[in-house]
């Protein structure tokens, strides 16, 4: 099982094109959105645009790398029959899911760090050392939830259906979770939905830290719940996958 995890990480690092775009695109998007913003607080929040979008773009970038990367790659591996071959080994379902999540986390970590570096260097974001550390760790660990979701989607959908489905989930979660614009400026019904979405809980970890608070227990509980559901579902689907795809 550790061999598989190591091998999946090596593969992720070898895939230079995917690595490059996954790492470059979140900081680029950050500069595009928050680049011209002033330092006035966002209505209804204590944070300004530069701070808010540092967390949401780091989250968005991590989510891109792990969710889209995983779902498409897994669907392809099922089509090619590699997963069939793997099912003829003693590998438990959780081993497969763990390896895929580890590979995704390898890609998401540098993209998270780069957004934070750009925010500090270009937009002059200044925080306490513990805040930098907590935001990086929280955003990275939180990305595991979406990595597991990516594995599950890779198992639910086949072939041509994978991309539209993962895109729909990805954009839906990003928008409704307030990754593209602060939730406080969105209608109330969106805010009501958002409260229970993994994406909102995900960014809320970072924004709480930015505001000088500890991450809220409710957000952590929501993320842990989604992680269990997605990872458990993915492991179950791996074992139950009796279609050739």
């Amino acid at each position: 099982m550790t061999t598989l995890i190591k091998l999946e990480i090596i593969r992720a690092l070898r895939n230079k094109k995917f690595m490059f775009f996954s790492v470059i695109y979140p900081p680029a998007l950050y500069l595009l959105i928050a680049g011209g913003a002033d330092s006035k607080p966002i209505p209804g929040m204590k944070l300004d645009m530069a701070l808010y979008f540092m967390v949401s773009m780091a989250a968005f970038g991590a989510m891109t790398a792990v969710l889209l990367g995983n779902s498409e790659r897994i669907a392809k591996e099922r089509e090619k029959g590699w997963v069939r071959q793997l099912r003829l080994t003693a590998l438990p379902g959780r081993g497969y899911v763990a390896a895929k999540m580890a590979a995704a986390a390898t890609v998401s970590l540098p993209s998270i760090l780069l957004v934070m570096i750009v925010a500090a260097a270009v937009k002059g974001v200044r925080l306490e050392a513990w805040q930098w550390f907590a935001i990086a760790a929280g955003t990275w660990l939180g990305s595991f939830v979406f990595a597991a979701l990516g594995v599950a989607i890779g198992y639910l959908a086949t072939g041509d259906a994978v991309r539209p489905i993962s895109m729909l989930v990805y954009f839906g979660l990003a928008f409704l979770g307030g990754l593209w614009m602060p939730l406080t400026i969105l209608p109330q019904w969106v805010q009501n939905i958002a409260e229970w979405l993994p994406t909102h809980a995900y960014t809320a970890l970072g924004t709480a830290v930015e505001a000088g608070e500890a991450p809220h227990v409710k957000d952590m509980a929501i993320l842990a719940g989604y992680l269990l559901v997605f990872a458990g579902g993915a492991a179950w689907l791996y074992r139950k996958d009796t279609r050739k795809a």
Partner: protein, 323 residues
């Protein structure tokens, strides 16, 4: 003649031992298509078994059921007295699937090491690579292999640890003649170490040369089961070939006893007969003088064709007639 009536379960050896693989009344349908129909099958330790059948006979479905990659609609499949999944988790089964892809973006060596580490009783890496004949391509990327090299890597994955049963689906597809010989050499050594080997193949000469038991599947059922010699004998027919001088009276030849087919080309006559002695005797009785008379048994390939076409010509089983 119905398909079930022709079934003879005569395991070549070890009938007194516990079966390695056991299918009991197993059925599997895909929509309206019955891929496997009430299949009964047992494999015993140390046997090398070839699974033959025309396309769509249910070979791949049978192997999928055996390996637990699909579940049966009814009946039971047991491996070593347990479920296929448990047997695989215990590392008792190695398999090489036609549809089994390889992980991309890794080196051959890395992939084989993975298979070895996932196996509860994995062999040393060098040994696996040498047995499969892939030592020279150890550092090649998996995506850059030829068809024959891919097959050898699959073989390495199937034999990465100490198992008791090896299942191979069309293992030599894409290999050239010498690679094929090397492959079967390695396979024979596996069998000599006491493993049970089950392989599906399109190459009937492979079944003839390598298997000590041949199972012919047709329409998801066992049509024949025995040694290659027994299968050939079961097909019944023998070939009679000779040359004749002067005009050939096809009518008279066609009336020969026990004749099942007649082919005349130039002066050469080829006959298939299910009683060659009677046919040849009657031939002389016609007052003919055949030159270069040859009487020979059918090859496994002809026997196979004779068996399956005879089954196709026979009235369908009740349930098939009902559809």
């Amino acid at each position: 003649m119905t398909t079930t009536a022709t079934t003879t379960a005569t395991p070549a050896q070890g009938a007194d031992r516990a079966p390695v693989v056991s299918f009991r009344q197993v059925s599997k349908s895909y929509g309206a298509v019955r891929a496997v129909a009430d299949l009964d099958l047992e494999l015993y330790p140390g046997e090398t078994v070839a699974l033959l059948g025309p396309n769509g006979a249910g070979k791949s479905s049978t192997l999928d059921l055996l390996l637990g990659l699909r579940g049966a609609d009814s009946g039971s499949v047991t491996l070593f007295g347990t479920t296929p999944q448990r047997a695989i988790e215990q590392g008792r089964v190695g398999a090489m699937l036609q549809s089994g892809g390889l992980m991309e973006g890794v080196k051959v060596k890395e992939l084989v090491r993975l298979a070895r580490d996932l196996h509860p009783r994995g062999y040393p890496l060098d040994q696996i690579m040498a047995t499969a004949g892939i030592t020279d391509i150890a550092d090649r990327m998996v995506d850059k292999l030829s068809g024959g090299q891919e097959q050898r890597v699959r073989f390495a994955l199937a034999t990465a640890g100490a198992g008791d049963l090896i299942v191979l689906d069309e293992p030599t597809t894409g290999m050239d003649v010498s690679a094929r010989q090397t492959f079967w050499g390695a396979m024979r050594r596996q069998a000599q170490e006491g493993r049970t080997v089950l392989f599906a193949t399109h190459y009937l000469e492979e079944a003839d040369e390598i298997a000590d038991r041949v199972i012919v599947l047709h329409r998801g059922r066992v049509l024949a089961d025995g040694t290659a010699a027994e299968i050939k004998a079961r097909a019944g027919a023998r070939r009679v070939a000779f040359e004749l001088d002067g005009p050939i009276d096809r009518e008279a030849l066609h009336a020969l006893p026990s004749l099942t087919s007649l082919e005349v080309s130039g002066r050469t006559v080829r006959i298939q007969s299910h009683d060659a002695d009677a046919t040849v005797h009657a031939l002389y009785g016609l007052g003919l003088y055949p030159h270069h008379l040859e009487v020979s048994g059918l090859g496994l390939e002809q026997a196979f064709i004779a068996l399956t076409t005879a089954s196709d010509a026979a009235p369908a089983t009740a349930e098939e007639a009902a559809r």
